[in-house]
Amino acid sequence: MQAEAPALELRGITKRFGPVVANDGIDFDLRPGEVHALLGENGAGKSTLMSILYGLYSPDEGEIRVNGEPVEVDSPSRAIELGIGMVHQHFMLVPVMTVTENIVLGEEPKRGMLLDVREGARKVKELSDRYGLAVDPDAVIEQVSVGMQQRVEILKTLYRDARILILDEPTAVLTAQEANELFEVLRTLKEDGVSIVFISHKLNEVLAISDRVTVLRRGEKIDTVPTEGATEESLARLMVGRDVLLRVEKEQAKPGRPVLEVEDLHVRDERGLEAVKGVSLEVREGEIVAIAGVDGNGQLELVQTIAGVRAPEAGRVTIDGRDVSELGVRGKTDAGVAHIPEDRQLCGLVLDFTLAENLALREYREQPISNHGLLSIGQMRARARTLLGEYDVRGGTPDTLASSLSGGNQQKVAVAREIASNPRLLIAHQPTRGLDVGAIEFVHGRLLNERANGRGVLLVSLEFEEVRALADRILVIYEGQIVGEFPPDVSEEELGVAMTGGGGRGQAAA
C-alpha cells in the first residue's frame, strides 16, 4: 500500500470511434500537487482521453480512480462532484455577463429566492486573491483580455472546489507574456495541493511547467518520463517517433531581383479605420522576409491587400515591376501571388469539399482541371493524389472531406495548393499556428524550399522562434507601420521591445 494514493488514475482506457482507435489501453496517473503534462501531436488522442475523464465520452474499456476509489464518470456534472475541473481550449463563457455571474452560473448563491450577487462576488474575490489571479469580479467578460477570460475559467473550476484541474492547450490563445502569468498561477495552485493535467504540444512549455510528462502517439501511450532530465529533442522524438529537426538549417540567402514591392500602402480595416499606415517593403527572389508584430497591428490587412482580398486606400503594390495594386485575388494569382491564409478553416479551405476539390481552388478554371467550363473530375483526383503524396497528407484520399482531417494535415493541404500554383511570391500568414512539431518542421521545410527555388516568401508570424529561424530579414510592424528592420540573429528582447512600440536599433523603414 502506497503512503498516498494518486489523486487520479486511469487504467487501460480504450475508446474507439467506429474503426478508429482514439485511445488504446492508456494508463495515466496524477499525483497530488503535481503538474503532469500530456504531450502529443494533433490527433494523438489527448483531448479524447481528457474528455473521457471529464465525462463527455464513455470509455469502451478501462477504469478511472479518484483518490484510489474506482468511479464512473458519466457526465461533466459527475466529474465536478468528484472535484475534477476542466478548462477547455475554447472558453465557455457568456460574453455579456460579468465575471462573477459567469463563475456562479449554475451554482448561484441564493438569499431566499433571490440571487445573492454580493456573496458571489465576495467568494470570487477571495479565491482570486488566494491564488493571485487578479480577476475583477465585476468586469464584463467581453471587455476583458483572453488571458483574463482563461483565469475566469480556472476560477469557475475552483469555485466548484476542483482539486484536479485539466487544462486543454491553455497557451494556444495566449501571448508569451500571458502564458508566463498563467504559469505563475499554476505554480501557486500546485503549492496549494491542486493536481494539474497540462495538455500541450509545445515542448518548451511542457519543460517549463510540468513535473512529469506522458507522451501519446496515435492513440497509444508511449512513455511517462520525469521532466527533469528531459530535453526538447528527447520529448520530440517520443512524440513523433523519429528525430526531429528543431533548429532549422538553412543556406545563405541569394536574393535576386525584387518580386514584391510595396510603396506607401494605406489600407482601411472592416470598421473603416486605417489599419495600414504607409507601409513600404520589398521581397526579393530567394529570400524570406518576415513581418513580426503583436497580433492586430495591421498584419492581416497588409497581407489581405497584397493577396487581393482587400482593396488599398492608397499606395502601390507591384509584382515583378508590374503595378497590381487594383487587382483582386484572381488578378494577383495570375501575377504570381500565392497566399496561405491565417485561418485555414475559415479562409483557407472549404471544409465540406473533398481534398481533390480543395486542392483545385486555385486552378479550377485552367487546363487540364477544366476545359471550357467543364470540370474533369479525373484530373482533379489525379492531381490531388500526387499532391497528397508529395506533401505527406495523412488520413486522406482525394475523396476525403477536408473536415475529417486533423489540423496539421489540413494545413498541409492548404500549403500544397498554394505552392503547387507555382507562385512568384508566397505569402504565409501564421503558417504553423496550432500545428505540432512534426507538421511545423514540414511547413518550415517547404517554405525554405520555396526560397531555394528562387521565390520570394513573405512570412507573417507571431512566434519569435519561427521568425528568427526562417527569416532573412525581419520587419517589425507596430500600429500599421514598419518600425524597424532586423537581421535574424536579433535578440528576443530587442525584437520584443520593437514590437511593443519601443525604439530599436534597426533603421526606420518609413
Binding site: 470511434f17 478508429v20 482514439a22 485511445n23 494533433n42 490527433g43 494523438a44 488522442g45 489527448k46 483531448s47 479524447t48 474528455s51 465520452y57 464513455s58 477504469e63 474506482p70 468511479v71 464512473e72 458519466d74 457526465s75 459527475r78 496515435r218 493577396a307 487581393g308 482580398v309 483582386g328 485575388v329 484572381r330 497566399h339 491564409p341 478553416q345 475559415l346 479562409c347 483557407g348 479551405l349 472549404v350 471544409l351 465540406d352 469539399f353 476539390e357 483545385a360 481552388l361 486555385r362 479550377y364 478554371r365 477544366s370 467550363g373 467543364l374 470540370l375 473530375i377 495523412r394 488520413g395 473536415s403 475529417s404 482531417l405 486533423s406 489540423g407 494535415n409 489540413q410 496550432g434
Partner: protein
Amino acid sequence: MSPADEPAAVAAATPASRLAAYVRGGGVIVPLLTTFLAFLAGGLVMLVTGSDPIATYEAIWKGTGLQWLFPWTTGDERELAAVNLQQTLIITTPLILTGLAVAFAFRAGLFNIGGNGQFIVGAIAAVWVGSSFADLPSLLHIVLAILAACAAGAFWGAIAGVLKAATGAHEVITTIMLNWIALWIGVWLFYLGGPLQTSRDPNLPVSEDVVEGAKLPVFWGDPILQGLHVGIFIALAAVVVFWFLLNRSTVGYEVRAVGFNPEAARYSGMNVGKNYILVMAVCGLFAGLAGSMDVLGWQFRIATNDIQIQLIGFFGIAVALLGRNTAVGTVAAALLFGALISGTSQRNLDPTVFEPSLASNLTFIIQGLVILIVSADVIVLGLMARARGLIGRRRPRGAAAEGEP
C-alpha cells in the same frame, strides 16, 4: 488520428454545410423515415377525426394512378389508373422544377422562398407569348414561349440576387416580397380592364387563351381530357442540367464553394456577389420554366383566382428539402408530392371513403410535417445516433460501480 480532436466542431456554419452534414448523416434512410413519420402523423389526424386511415390511404393510392405501373392492374382498372397517373405526372412536372429552384439555391447557401413568384412571372410570360403571335410555326412558338418564361423567371430571381450582392438584403425577405409583387402584377394584368385581360368576355378576369400551335403536345392519353403533355421530359432534362451544372462545371464548383464557405471562396478569387446573382437567376429560370409548363401544357390561360391560390412554388421547398437538394432526390420527392396532391384531389379521391376537400388538407399536413421534420433534422439524426449508441450511452449513476471489484 482521432475524430474527436480538432475538426468537426468548427464546421456547420452555412445552411449548405448543415445540409451537407444532414445528407452525409443519414443517406437515403432519413428522407424515407421522414416521409414515414409524416404519413404516420397524418394517419393519426385521420384517426382522431374519426376516419379509417388505412382505407383513406388506400383510396388516395388509387387516386394517384401509380398502380398502373404494376402489370397485374388490368382492364377498366388499368384505364382509370392511366388517367389518374397522367394527372399525377402533370402535377409532378412543375414540382420537379420548383424543387430544383429551391435546391439550387440551397447548394449555394441561399434559401429561395421566391419559387412561387418566379413561377408566376414565368407563367405570365408564357401566356402572353403563347396567346400572341398566332402566325408563328408551332415548334418555334413553343420554344419562344418557354424561353420568355425562363427569362422572366430568371430576371425575377436575379432581383433578389442583386439585392443580396449589392446591399446584403436577406434573400428570404426579398423573395417573399417579390412573391407578392409577382402575384399582384398578375392580378392587375388579367383583372377586369387589365392590359392582358381576355377580349372574349369583359366580365371574366382571365388571360387570353394560348393558341393551339403554342400548346405542348400530349403524348399519353386524350388531349381533350387533359392527357399528359411532354413537359415531364423537359422537367427531367432540367434535372440532368441541374446535376451536370452543379457537379461537372466550374460554375457549379463555384456555387458549391460559395455555399459551403463564402470566405474561402472569396480568398480563392471567386466573386461571391456575382455568384449570388447567378444562382438566383438560375433558380428563377427553373421556376419560370415550371410556370410555362403548366400554362402551355394544360391550363392554357391564367385566371386571377388561380394566381392567388398558387402554391406550387412553396411545395417546391418541401420537395427540395425532402429530396435533400440532390437531382434524383428532387425527382422522387416531386413524384411523392405530385401523387399526394393528385390522389387527394376532388377528381381522383373516392368521396365515400374520405371527403376530398378534407383530404387535400391532409396533403398540406404532410407537407408541413415534412418541412418540420427536415428542418429539425437534429431530431431524426439524433434519434438515429441514439439508436446506434453513439451518444448518450449513459448508465444510471452508481450502477456501474457494482461491477467493480
